[in-house]
Each structure stands twice: as C-alpha cells, then as structure tokens.
C-alpha cells in the first residue's frame, strides 16, 4: 500500500512540477507576446552576452531532464505495481537508436564528403603532388569501404542481436580460418599501400640530378614570424651563410666572403617558372617552423642548425589556377605549420607560378642582398651605382660582382 501511496505522491509531484513549468512558460510567452506588442524592438544582445543567461538556460534543461526522468520512473513503477512487464524495453530502444544512428550517420558522412569534400584544396599543382593525390584517392576508397562496411556490421549486429530473454547467445569462441583470413587480407591491402607509398616517397626525396637541367635553387629562411626568400644570382647557387655573422643589416647572416653570395637576390614573394624543377633550401634562424605549401603537396620543417631540402616541379601557373578554381583572387600561399609562438597563425607568403618569360622579367627586377652597408662591413669595395634600368640590372650586378671578385682576388 505504501508503494502505491508513494507512486501517487510522485505522480502528483511530477504533475505539479510539469504544470508549473508549462504555466510559467505560457506566462512568459504571454509576457513576451505582450512585450512584443508594446515595444517591438527589444535589444536582447546584452542578455545573450551574459553568462547568467546561459547558466539559467542550462539549469532549465537540467530541470526538464530531471522531470522527464521522474516521469519515466513513475511510469515504470506504476507498471511494476500493476504487475505488468517492465515499462520500457531499453535494449530495444538502444538497438533502434543504433540503427537510426547508422542511417543518419551514413547520410551525414555522405553529406560531409559531398559538401565539405567540395571545399578542399584543388588538384595538386606539382608533378609529385599528382602521385600523392592518386595515392590519397586510392587510400580514401579503401578506407571508405572498410569504414562503411564495419559500421554497418557494428550497428547492424547491435540492432539485430539485442537482448531477448527467450534467446541464448551462440557459443562461438574462435574460428582459426576466419581469423587467418582477416589477418591476411588487411596485410595484403596494406602491402599494396606500403609499396605504393614507399615508391612515391622515394621518387620525392631521392632525385637524380640532371646536370643539363639543374633545378632552380631558392633558399627560404624562417624566423618568428616571417619568411625571408633568397634567390641565387647568375651563378645559380645561393652562397654560404654563417649565423654568427647576423647583424641588423645582415639579418640572414650571409657570408659575403663566399663569392657565390655576392650576386644573391632578395625577394618579397616566391616566383617560380612553371614546369621547372625547384629546389627549396630551408633554414631556420630561431625555432622550428614548417614550410607548408599545400597546393603543391610540399611540406618540410625548417630546423635551426640544419638545412632541409625539398624538390618539386610546379605544373600549373597562378593564372591557370585562377581559371580552374574560378576565383580571380586565387593565390598560392606558403605558411607555417609547426607551432612556433604567438604569431604562428599569421606567417605567410605568396607564391606566384608564372611562365619562364615572366619569371625572367621578374628576377631581373630583384635587388641584390649585398648593399653598400654590407660591403663596408665585409670590407668590400663599394660598387658603382647600378644603372637604373630594369632588365639590365642583373647583368650590371654580376659585372659589379666580377669587379669585386677581382678586387678580392688581388
């Protein structure tokens, strides 16, 4: 009897609470409606900003959940008291939820693949990048199949084999044949992936240099939080550096005693000719950064005290990419991908891929690192003022270097 009393108490209590809540909300609604009628524009901005508002919302949700919980409890107890089978078959509920989750989840995955999948990087703009993309697609197909099949099995089994008092599970401790199969099959698939990955990796990092077609050297030096780009001059080789020579005017610590340094050029952006192999010489002044050039599938850390090298060949010019992506403002960028301090999130430079002709014009306009200040520092004779004519400056500059060299060789 006391149980019954308890239930009635609970029921009344729950009902009372429910009533109050509904009454309150309807009152609030009426208030709000009245308020809306009186003053149509109430600025709620401040309210939405206050923490207390959200805390109250959360508490209201908790209260709601508690009420639902109590209601379920009341329902179950009343079923029990009436001698009926348990109120809610939770095993069935969860099994159905898993089935629902499977369907909605697979739809969600499809949605992600098509919607967010369409927002990704365009196709690789480099020779090795195309191989990487191929591998990526193969891996994506394999993993997607495995993902979908295993999830259908996982949630499908959960749905089909939910608990039933009438049934007994099937005693099935092992089956060596099946186990062998599902050891060997993944091993084979992985062997294919490993082999392809290994060969791709080798083709990226083990390049045989063609003496007739030497790659274009570009040196990139990172520091907190900027990049410096150095192009070799006419000799095609960037000169030596020594970090101990770093000063305010020689921020990279270039050793101008090395003849190869003297014709080196500095650049604000990276401009590379399409179809020509580029050899990036990566250095860091202070902490580790990472040179990340995603459109070309290029990434390598820049490490203080150690030069790292990445070689790639761009295949699509910026202009072509602007057409391909249908975005007239499209720019290739490289930026930092290794945590390096407070400015890590904004450490970028533009890369322009252009035709050989445009490149030649551009490189001719770039200024040499070696300026009069530095000449004094290195006790080099100050060069005559270069002629103020765009395309000639490179020639004059190398001429200047030659005179310097002669001066030095004395």
């Amino acid at each position: 009897m006391s149980l019954r009393k308890f239930i009635t108490n609970k029921t009344t209590a729950a009902l009372a609470v429910l009533l109050t809540v509904f009454a309150n909300t309807s009152v609030f609604a009426q208030d709000a409606a009245a308020g809306a009628a009186a003053a149509p524009k109430v600025d709620m901005g401040e309210v939405y900003k206050s923490v207390i508002f959200y805390v109250l919302v959360f508490l209201a949700i908790c209260l709601f959940i508690a009420i639902v919980g109590k209601a379920i409890r009341v329902y179950e107890l009343s079923r029990e008291a009436q001698g009926k089978p348990v109120g809610i078959n939770w095993n069935r509920v969860h099994a159905s939820l898993f089935a629902l989750f499977l369907v909605l989840g697979l739809y969600g995955v499809y949605w992600e693949y098509t919607v967010h999948g369409a927002m990704l990087l365009p196709d690789a703009a480099s020779v090795h990048g195309e191989r990487i993309d191929k591998m990526f697609n193969l891996t994506l197909i394999i993993t997607t199949i495995v993902f979908v099949v295993t999830h259908i099995l996982l949630f499908g089994f959960s749905y089909v084999y939910k608990y039933s008092a009438k049934r007994k599970a099937y005693y099935y401790p092992h089956n060596n044949t099946i186990e062998k199969i599902w050891t060997i099959v993944p091993a084979l698939v992985l062997t294919v992936l490993v082999l392809m990955g290994f060969l791709t990796w080798r083709s990226i990092f083990y390049k045989v240099e063609d003496p007739n077609n030497k790659p274009l050297q570009i040196e990139v030096t990172s520091e907190q939080f900027k990049w410096s780009i150095r192009y070799p001059g006419a000799d095609g080789v960037v000169g030596k550096k020594n970090y101990k020579l770093t000063t305010a005017s020689n921020t990279l610590g270039i050793d101008f005693k090395d003849l190869k340094s003297r014709d080196d050029l500095m650049a604000d952006e990276m401009v590379i000719p399409v179809g020509k192999s580029v050899k990036l010489l990566l250095m860091s002044k202070d902490v580790i950064h990472s040179f990340y050039l995603p459109h070309f599938r290029v990434q390598l850390n820049t490490v203080p005290g150690m030069q790292t090298i990445f070689e790639f060949t761009p295949t699509i010019t910026t202009a072509e990419m602007q057409q391909k992506t249908n975005d007239p403002n499209f720019k290739y960028l490289f930026y930092c991908a290794k945590i390096c301090g407070s400015g890590h999130y904004n450490m970028q430079k533009v890369v322009r891929v252009v035709s050989q002709k445009e490149y030649d014009e551009w490189i001719a306009e770039q200024k040499p690192y070696l300026n009069d200040d530095l000449r004094k520092q290195f006790n080099l004779p100050v060069a005559p003022k270069p002629v103020e004519a765009g395309s000639d400056s490179i020639a004059t500059d190398s001429a200047a270097v030659k005179t310097n060299q002669m001066a030095l060789n004395k």
Binding site: M119, F157, Y161, H174, T183, A187, L190, H295, P304, G341
Partner: protein, 626 residues
C-alpha cells in the same frame, strides 16, 4: 556454489580485519589498499579531465568567435584575456596544457592507473599489489605532478605553451614564447614526477601479474583486461625512462647552458652561444616514448572493452588468443614506429620509408581486434548497459580514427597532412574519444565493484548518446579542414582568405563541443551522487565470470575473506551450450558442469578427457541441449 556461499559470511570475517586500525588518514588519504588507490586515481583523473575539457572549451570559443569579446573570460583569466579576448600566447598555453593533461594525467594515470589498480589484484586473485607502499607512492607522485602542472596557471609568465610535445628550441627559449620560462620548468618537473609515478605503478603491475596469480590462474586464463594492463605496463616501463632522459637533457639546455638540442640560433639579432646540438634529437627521444604512449592510452581501453563486450553480448570474446597476440604485436611494433611523427621534420628520408612500413604493419593487429569485436557481437544476446554502449562507441571510434591513420602513416600522404587539422581529428577519435569511451565503459561497469553501489542507468544512457553524437560532430568535420590545408594550433583563422570558409564550421564544432562538455554533467552528477546515494549493488550485477565479482561487495583489505578462490576455467564461458545459466564463473570447476564441458576445455589433459568421456557415456545427451 561454494564460493557464493562463502560471501554470505563476510560480515563475520570483517571483524578479523580490525587488527590493523584504520584511521581516516590511512584509509582515505595515505591508503595502501589497491581499491582505494584506484578510486584516488579515478577521482583525480576525472577532476583533471574536467579541467582539460574546460580548457578545450575556452580555445574552442576563441576559434569560433575570433573577433568577439567575452567579458566573462576577462573575469576569469585576467590579463590573459584582456578585453574579453584570449591572447595568442595564452591560446597556445591552453592547447598545450589541454594535451598534456588529457594524454598523461587522464588517459594514462586516470585510465591505466585506475583500472590496473582496481582489477589486477581482483581479477587475478591477489590480496593486494606486490608492493602496496610503492603503489601509494605512485598515486602521490601523480597527485603532486597534477598540482604542479595546475600551479603553472598561477605564475606571471603562464604555463608551458610550446605544444604538448614541447619541441625545443621553442620550449627551451623563454625569449621565443613567455610560456617557456617558469611555466616550462614546472612542466618538466611535473613530467619527471609523473614518469616516476607511472614507473612505480608499472613495475608493481607487472610483478603482481607475474607472481601473485591465484591457484589455477595461468596466463591463458587471465581476462583480456589483465593482458592489456600487463602489456601496457611493460610498454610504460620500457619507454617512459627515455622521456625522462630527454627531459633531463632539456633541463640542462634550459638551465645550465648545454647544447643538446640547440644550435645555430639567432633570436632577432641576438646570437646564442649554443652549438652542435640538434632539435631532432628531442623529437626522437620524445616520440620513442610518445608513440608507445599512444598505445599505453588505448590498450587498457581495448582490454576493458573486450571484457565489457563479451559480458554484455553474453558470448565468449571471439578469438581470445588472437586478441592476446594482437596486443603483443601492437606492444612490440609500437616501439619501432615513432618516426612516423617525424616524416617531414627533416629526418633522413630513408628512415621515413622504414617507419612507414612498420607503421602500416601495426594496422594489421588493430584490424584483427576490430573484426574480433564484430564477431563477438555477431549472434550475441546484447544487453545495452551504459558500459556496453560506451564499449560499442569505442569500437566505432577505433575504426573511424584507425582508418585515418592509414593516411597519416603513409609518409607520402603525410607530407600534406602533417600538423593539419586532419591529424587533430585522427588522434582525437582514435586515442582521445576511443580511450575516453573505454575509460567510461570501465567506470560504468566496475562502479559497483569500486563503490558498492550502482550508477543510474538512464543518466548513463543520456550521457552516452549525447557524448557519442557530439564527439562525432566535433571531430568528423575537422578532417576536412585538414584536407584543405589548415594547420593545427592556429590562434585564429582570420588572417587567411581561404580559411574564412571554415569559420562557420568552427562555430558548429564549438557548439558541438559545448554540448559534449555539458553532457558530462550528467556523468559527474551520476558518479558523485551514486557514490553516496546509489542503489546498493548486488554481488554480481552483470552476471560476469571474472573473479572480482566473487569478492564481497563491501570492501575489505585483502579482498576475500578466508581463502582466495581457485580458478578452473577461462573467463569467457558465456552462453555455453548445456549449462542452464548463460555464464559460468571462473571459480566453477569442470566437475560441476559436466553437461557443458567441451573436449577443448581440458587442454590435452587426457585423464580429464577420459573422465568426461565416461560421464558422457553414462549420461547420454538428451536432445535440445542448448
């Protein structure tokens, strides 16, 4: 039956244990009882998890609304969030400490520490750990490590902020980032204490498992939980010291002017005197621990889920031996894959190729485990207890996150995915969510064993569904940011034109993360409320076979009154045909289950086989056995 009868007498036995007087301090604080230490690990782990989750919500707010001001942030964080906006340095501190706490304090100590301590003695039939004192020290070193780590929030320069991997030179030079000052020193001290703690724990676990198993409990009769804890402990013992070595060298570099990791460094125009070191060295030392650490995190979770799935499917775990061998395979392989974290760090490309091969091989034992879980569910009789829900969730995360590992383990693909959000999504699914779900499955499953009370199942259901859905909503979209080339640890996406299209995704992910965080309130309430007010637990609430459920509900030092039970069979005799119940505890001898014995059970013991044959001849099988 005899064992069950025995427990009814435990009240009488309890008096016998009065001889060593328990004070409040010796019982609850400096306890040497493995069960109490397990609870200490668990509660500390939960508190740290809540803190780390809070930190993640803070930086998620920053990512979702980079240019909005939140005055309450300034109220809490002061100068680190001036004008209600989190500062860039502090953002990095948040991600660093979030990672450190989650990986080490929650998923290593909170998971392995809790369940190794609780289950090793109880499931192998020992009265306590091999060295209870060392066990107590292990907890207190861990606790001190937590306190020091948290204390770094209260110093002028803020906590360590070089990422949880603390790569030098960033972590070695206070001029590079303020967090590398005092905060980093505290991080290093905390980590040394933590490693000492896990070594003491690990040595204890290994020696207990090897030496203190009860009669009949040979290695191949151990539950998979114990196998997982055993191999995890071995991994920890062999890899954690390497981290200490690395940490000590870093301390030397930072404080005594050595150059193990530093060379050729110029801060602005300030030329540092260090010469000859290599930052790559730290990465090798760190990841030599760091990668096994990933398995230290996930293997206990896999062990727990094996047990939970088997119990609640009412079926033996499929391929018990294969499960053990794949754990052993993972253990061995995990030592030779660390280089896959370093494909693009400038390590010799030759090594990249080698590490790629070993890394992809490790996918084989992982695949075997997954398929075995699926086969265990097949034709089971599945009871969806909260623990079972979380175990199924774990399998789902393990698949999803494991598959993306095939991309990252492939050196060629890693070039473009390294240090992007793809990595973030990958490891948050496979080791974050999966391991957390393993831990939660363990908590729901063994709560009755820990506290003698039941947790509220319905709140558990709510907790599971909210968390499961929210975790996928948070981490699934992040893959696509990575595939678009968005690097991780970016304070704001505002400086890049192409990242702006992801801002709405960031807002969505943050709301999902907040939902996941709030869902944990259901757990926390349930957990702490049930400790005191939960329904009193029955002896064996899940009708499980393992030994821990034969110990009395009310804890006593020494676990079993009277003799420790003897083990006769493996732990997975669920739904064995011929037996009237759908489970046969390990303590039931074969002589009591003649009808259900299989030839395989006797492991080639001809005498026992003969007895069985004779019995079967004498008692011909009546049809409809099952």
């Amino acid at each position: 039956m005899s064992t069950i009868a025995l427990h009814d007498e435990h009240n009488h036995d309890h008096a016998d244990h009065g001889h060593h007087k328990e004070t409040l301090i010796s019982k609850y604080i400096f306890s040497m009882d493995h069960k109490m230490i397990a609870k200490q690990f668990l509660v500390t782990g939960i508190i740290m998890a809540v803190i780390a989750m809070g930190l993640s919500i803070l930086f998620r707010i920053q990512l979702a609304w980079p240019d909005k001001s939140f005055p309450f942030l300034e109220t809490f964080l002061g100068k680190w969030a001036e004008g209600g906006r989190i500062k860039s340095d502090f953002y990095l501190a948040l991600v660093t400490i979030h990672g450190t706490i989650m990986v080490f304090f929650v998923l290593t100590a909170g998971l392995s520490g809790t369940f190794s301590n609780l289950l090793i003695p109880l499931q192998i039939g020992a009265r306590d750990m091999a060295s209870p004192f060392l066990n107590m020290l292990s907890y207190w070193f861990f606790f001190t490590a937590c306190v020091i780590m948290m204390a770094s929030f209260f110093i002028q320069t803020g906590p360590a902020s070089g990422g949880w991997t603390v790569y030098p030179p960033l972590s070695a030079l206070p001029t590079a980032i303020p967090g590398s000052g005092m905060g980093m020193t505290m991080w290093l001290i905390s980590m040394v204490l933590f490693v000492a703690s896990s070594l003491m724990g690990g040595i204890n676990y290994v020696s207990t498992i090897l030496n203190m198993r009860t009669k009949g409990m040979d290695l191949w009769k151990m539950p998979l939980t114990i196998w997982a804890f055993f191999l995890t402990a071995i991994l920890g013992i062999l890899s954690f010291p390497v981290l200490v070595a690395g940490v000590v060298l870093l301390v030397f570099d930072r404080s005594f002017g050595t150059s193990f990791y530093l060379s050729d460094i110029v801060m602005g125009t300030n030329i540092l005197p260090n010469e000859g070191g290599s930052p790559i060295l730290w990465q090798h030392l760190f990841w030599f621990l760091g990668h096994p650490e990933v398995y230290i995190v996930i293997m206990p979770a896999l062990g727990i889920s094996s047990e939970v799935i088997s119990v609640n499917s009412r079926k033996p775990i499929f391929g018990y031996h294969a499960m053990v061998y794949s754990l052993i395979g993972i253990t061995v392989l995990s030592f030779i894959v660390w280089g896959h974290h370093m494909f693009v760090t400038g390590m010799n490309p030759l090594l990249g190729g080698v590490f790629m091969i070993t890394t992809l091989i490790i996918a084989v034992p992982s695949a075997v485990k997954t398929f075995n879980y699926l086969a265990t569910l097949w034709r089971g009789n599945i009871r969806f207890t909260p623990a079972m829900l979380f175990a199924i969730g774990l399998v789902s995360f393990f698949i999803s996150g494991g598959l993306t590992g095939l991309f990252l383990g492939n050196a060629s693909l890693d070039i473009n995915l390294h240090d992007t959000y793809f990595v973030v999504a990958h490891f948050h699914l496979v080791m974050g969510s999966a391991a957390i779900f393993g831990m939660l499955a363990g908590v729901y499953h063994w709560f009755p064993r820990m506290f003698g009370r039941m947790m509220n199942a319905k709140l558990g259901y709510l907790h599971f569904w909210l968390t499961f859905i929210a975790a996928y909503l948070v981490f699934f979209p992040l893959h696509f940011l990575g595939l678009d080339g968005v690097p991780r640890r970016y304070y704001a996406f505002t400086e890049f034109e192409f990242m702006k299209k992801w801002l709405t995704v960031n807002v969505f992910v943050t709301w999902a993360a907040i939902m996941a965080a709030l869902a944990q309130v259901a757990f926390l309430w349930n957990f702490f409320y049930s400790i005191f007010k939960g329904k009193v637990a029955p002896q064996n609430p899940w009708e499980s076979n393992t030994l821990e459920w034969t110990a009395p509900v009310e804890h006593l030092h020494g676990n079993w009154p009277g003799e420790i039970p003897t083990v006769y069979r493996w732990p997975y005799d669920y739904s064995k045909p011929g037996h009237d119940e759908d489970f046969i505890p390990q303590t039931v001898p074969f002589s009591q289950t003649m009808r259900s014995n299989l030839p395989h059970d006797f492991e080639g013991n001809t005498e026992a086989e003969k007895i069985q044959q004779d019995w079967e001849l004498a008692n011909p099988v009546t049809e409809n056995k099952g």
